[in-house]
């Protein structure tokens, strides 16, 4: 008998050794479909509200992608989003629900920003930047240790614990900013500003800081780890079946803790890149809340760190360009969230249609006759 579940989702996890990339194009378009539906539905909503959807989308595209400055803004935004996505993917693929990404992000951001200016006083700036990136990584990673130990040793549900740690992390970040890291120069509570010249350098010829390079390198490394190393395979087995992992003699506890730390670390690195590339400081109560939207996006991308790039890029275009489009159309920024929500809704719907609905039955009938010969060879008789 054929295991239907594994058949349907096999390309997602990259089941064979050469793995991901083979069906890249096909899966990309399958996954892009809900985005298109979402945009159409959003267009209908715009029409109902008396706005011109074509103008809205055009402005989004224009100011997020088609102008040089818009494109640069989009790419700059891409850096933390990609790193954070990679962080989520590392955990999710291992079957670990790191829901507390925003807490890891903000705490790392606060520490990086808080230590930045003082560090510049005691060491050369070329050492400060890499060091602060490492600090961001470590802080983000450290913030997962309590949930991961509780998960590994007591089987405690990490969804709850990471969420709780996120609340604590977000508030701890504010306490740090309003306490030890408080700048005495500004009126609003924030950290000292790292001078603009000491921030991450630009890619020559652009105003895009090198964060995007860091992000892409990190993504490639994660992809390599997942597809070409024993550690990556262990995490995939852990994600696919914790019982099979135990049965195979994998040190499940150790891998839970390290995968969680790597996930948090990448998210902390995202924060360091955003602070050191764009802001130079962190203001109290600042929370871009990238995490919640990225959850959906990484699933849309089938938890594949390479497939996720175009999706995050698209999301960044909507964030950057949509901001301008909403302003011009006289709509609140919330409309962008609505658009994202619609896309997610269609994502669920198309997934349902693909696996259970009439679409699947239609396809199954077609595939059935095609694959019949192959199945006999597979000994399914």
């Amino acid at each position: 008998m054929v295991n239907e579940a594994s058949r349907g989702s096999a390309p997602v996890v990259g089941s064979s050794i050469p793995s991901a990339g083979r069906h890249w194009g096909r899966t990309f378009w399958q996954r892009a479909a809900p985005v298109v539906y979402g945009l159409i539905a959003g267009g209908v909503l715009l029409l109902v509200m008396g706005k011109n959807p074509i103008a809205f989308y055009w402005t989004t595209l224009e100011s997020g992608l088609l102008t040089w400055s818009g494109l640069m803004q989009t790419i700059i935004r891409l850096a933390p989003l990609l790193l954070m996505s990679a962080g989520f993917i590392v955990a999710f693929q291992a079957g670990l629900w790191n829901i507390g990404g925003d807490g890891q992000f903000l705490l790392a951001a606060a520490v990086v920003a808080g230590l930045g200016a003082p560090a510049l006083g005691v060491m050369p700036f070329w050492l400060v930047l890499p060091l602060l990136c490492v600090v961001g990584f470590l802080v983000g990673g450290a913030w997962t240790v309590v949930p991961s130990l509780m998960k590994a040793y007591y089987g405690m549900n990490e969804i709850i614990t990471t969420l709780m740690m996120a609340f604590i992390g977000i508030n701890l970040a504010n306490i740090l900013i309003k306490g030890p890291f408080l700048s005495h120069v500004t009126l609003v509570p924030q950290t000292d500003v790292i001078p603009w010249v000491y921030l991450l350098p630009f890619i020559p010829g652009t105003h895009i800081h090198v964060g995007i390079v860091i992000a892409l390198v990190a993504l490639v490394l994660v992809h390599f780890m997942q597809t070409r190393t024993s550690y990556g395979l262990r995490l995939r087995i852990l994600g696919a079946s914790p019982r099979a992992a135990l049965h195979a003699g994998i040190s499940v506890k150790r891998d839970i803790v390290t995968a969680f730390a790597l996930s948090g670390g990448l998210i902390g690195l995202a924060a360091a890149v955003e602070v050191l590339g764009v802001w130079g400081y962190v203001r109290a109560d600042w929370n871009p809340a990238f995490g919640m939207t990225l959850f959906a996006i990484v699933f849309l991308a089938g938890l594949d760190v390479l497939v996720v790039i175009p999706f995050v890029f698209f999301f960044a275009v909507i964030q950057i360009g949509g901001h301008e489009a909403a302003r011009q159309a006289g709509l609140p920024n919330d409309f962008l969230l609505l658009l994202i929500g619609l896309i997610l809704f269609f994502m669920v719907l198309t997934e349902w249609a693909r696996t259970r609905g009439w679409l699947a039955r239609l396809r199954g009938r077609h595939a059935g006759s095609m694959a019949a010969a192959a199945e006999e060879a597979a000994g399914d008789g």
């Binding site: 295991n3 059935g368 597979a378």
Partner: protein, 536 residues
């Protein structure tokens, strides 16, 4: 007596159920392809076929779990549509699944009253009367107040049958009903089936065991690759001798292969495979269990109590016992998946207490698990990766943590060929293979790379005849070299007698005794099993 059942009207052999052209297609597979089936009153109709032949799919169509893509179902000559399990129950189709669907914390009576027709107010008295009527008709003794979880598996099955009758079933489907039973449990079941036939019920009995089909069935239908190969009717079954019958069925199950299958274990003399107490020349002790105690997962003590066993090189030590008597905890404790609460396990003289699962595996202690899909393989991963999943990070498949796909692929190609795993490719997700081929993948993984002691837990459970024979030959082949030993945990007495040198009998976590295989061993083992069994 017939009043206990709503057995319908018509002549004694009236056709109660008629399936015509049932076709059910899943993405990529034709699970049922124009299957016709006639079932008459008062007969046991055996549905025989290998794993994946489409038996369960067909019955799930009948039970309202799947909708057929084509074909019609007639009950008592009237065309019906069964679109959900409720419809099936209303039409008098009752299904007894392989695994109990009773609620273990409820009593027998409570489980029955969960059925239907009780209305808002439950009446214990009325239910008790009903139960009594059914138990006397069937000739079984069931305590209405016993929690079903405390009953033996045979008794649970009786309760399941009673529950199906309670719901007014006239057509009873039993899915592989003997797979969990002791020899005595099977006898009891056969008696119950005779009673059911007398009452005019129709029974569909699903099995992949030829002997069972001959012994129990009035009529045998053979399914193969989703198609009905043929039905042997009552007259032929009466007239034909046992060997003729076997030829007939084997010809239907494996067209054109009957000759080559003459040696298959179940069809020929089982002692051929070896075993049979030639342990006079038993080798070195390889694996020693010393007073092994295993605690339950929720802290209950003594699910395995003070078991001491020794497995020698060149020996298969069988472990007999009804399922759920501590076999799995024992196996898991040996291989390191469960902590020892006491005692020691030594492999070739070295204590394993401090070694993890992986270290034990690399030292040659292997485990062919009975939970093949749950832990044995990762269904979404390729056959190739599943073949090395217990070697992750070790040379030659990984060097400094880097995967070497060519080495893994070469290793997989070799094992797939050696163990004749039928798979389109080594990159196929293991979960999409048939049950028999999944087991071949697991056996290949455990027996490759220098095994010393292999723990087999129900290694042929649910497998078809051919794969069963292949796996059994591997077990014997492993130890016959004299370098390795095997612990064979099985609920199939026939298998234990065919393969083991000695058989240990386990009951409720205790070792009841060890029997040297040979003439009379079956009776001795049976006596030890019954002596320890609870409730039967």
């Amino acid at each position: 007596m017939g009043s206990a059942f709503s057995s319908g009207s018509g002549s004694p052999d009236a056709v109660v159920l008629e399936l015509r052209g049932i076709t059910k297609v899943f993405p990529g597979v034709r699970a049922n392809d124009h299957v016709d089936l006639l079932v008459r009153r008062g007969e046991v109709h055996c549905l025989l076929g290998e794993n994946g032949a489409g038996k369960s799919t067909l019955m799930n169509v009948l039970a309202g779990i799947y909708m057929p893509d084509e074909g019609s179902i007639r009950i008592d000559g009237r065309e019906v549509s069964i679109s959900c399990p409720r419809d099936a129950i209303d039409l008098g189709v009752g299904m007894v699944h392989q695994h109990s669907s009773l609620i273990p914390d409820f009593t027998v009576l409570e489980n029955l009253m969960l059925g239907r027709g009780e209305g808002w107010r439950l009446s214990t008295g009325r239910a008790q009367d009903g139960l009594k009527r059914l138990t006397t008709t069937l000739g079984v003794a069931v305590d209405p107040g016993a929690e079903t979880g405390q009953l033996s598996l045979g008794q649970q099955q009786q309760v399941e049958i009673i529950k199906a009758l309670w719901q007014g079933s006239r057509i009873l489907i039993l899915d592989e009903p003997t797979s969990m039973l002791t020899p005595k449990g099977i006898e009891d079941l056969e008696r119950v089936l005779r009673q059911l036939k007398q009452q005019g019920l129709a029974v569909i009995f699903i099995t992949h065991k030829l002997r069972e089909a001959f012994a129990i069935g009035d009529r045998v239908s053979v399914l193969r690759q989703g198609r009905l190969q043929g039905t042997i009717d009552r007259e032929t079954m009466k007239a034909a001798s046992a060997t003729e019958m076997q030829r007939l069925v084997v010809e239907l199950m494996f067209p054109g292969e009957a000759e080559t299958l003459a040696h298959v274990a179940e069809l020929s003399d089982l002692s051929e495979l070896g075993g049979g107490g030639r342990a006079a020349t038993a080798g070195e002790p390889l694996l020693e269990l010393h007073e092994v105690v295993v605690a339950g997962q929720r802290g209950e003590i003594g699910i395995v109590e003070a078991i001491s066993l020794t497995i020698h090189a060149g020996e298969v030590l069988g472990v007999a016992g009804v399922d759920g008597n501590g076999q799995r905890p024992l196996a898991e404790a040996i291989v390191g998946q469960r902590p020892l609460a006491g005692g020691d396990v030594r492999l070739a003289g070295t204590s394993l207490r401090r070694l993890g699962i992986g270290a034990r595996q690399r030292r040659g202690l292997r485990y062919v698990t009975d939970d093949r899909l749950g832990e044995g393989i990762v269904g979404s991963m390729s056959v190739a990766l599943n073949l090395v999943s217990k070697r992750i990070g070790t040379a030659p498949f990984w060097v400094h943590g880097r995967t070497r796909p060519e080495v893994i692929a070469a290793h997989a190609e070799e094992l797939v060929r050696e163990y004749s795993v039928a798979t389109p490719s080594i990159h196929t997700p293991a979960g999409s293979l048939s049950g028999g081929n999944i087991q071949k993948v697991i056996v290949a993984r455990e027996l490759s790379l220098d095994p010393k002691v292999v723990v087999f837990n129900k290694p042929t459970y649910g497998l078809d005849v051919k794969t069963t024979a292949a796996v059994r030959a591997r077990i014997r082949g492993l130890v016959d070299g004299g370098a390795a030993g095997a612990l064979l945990i099985s609920t199939d007495l026939e298998e234990l007698l065919a393969l083991s040198d000695r058989v240990a009998v386990l009951s409720r976590g205790r070792l009841m005794g060890i029997v040297r295989n040979g003439p009379g061993a079956e009776q001795e083992i049976g006596a030890l099993m019954i002596g320890g069994e609870h409730g039967e």
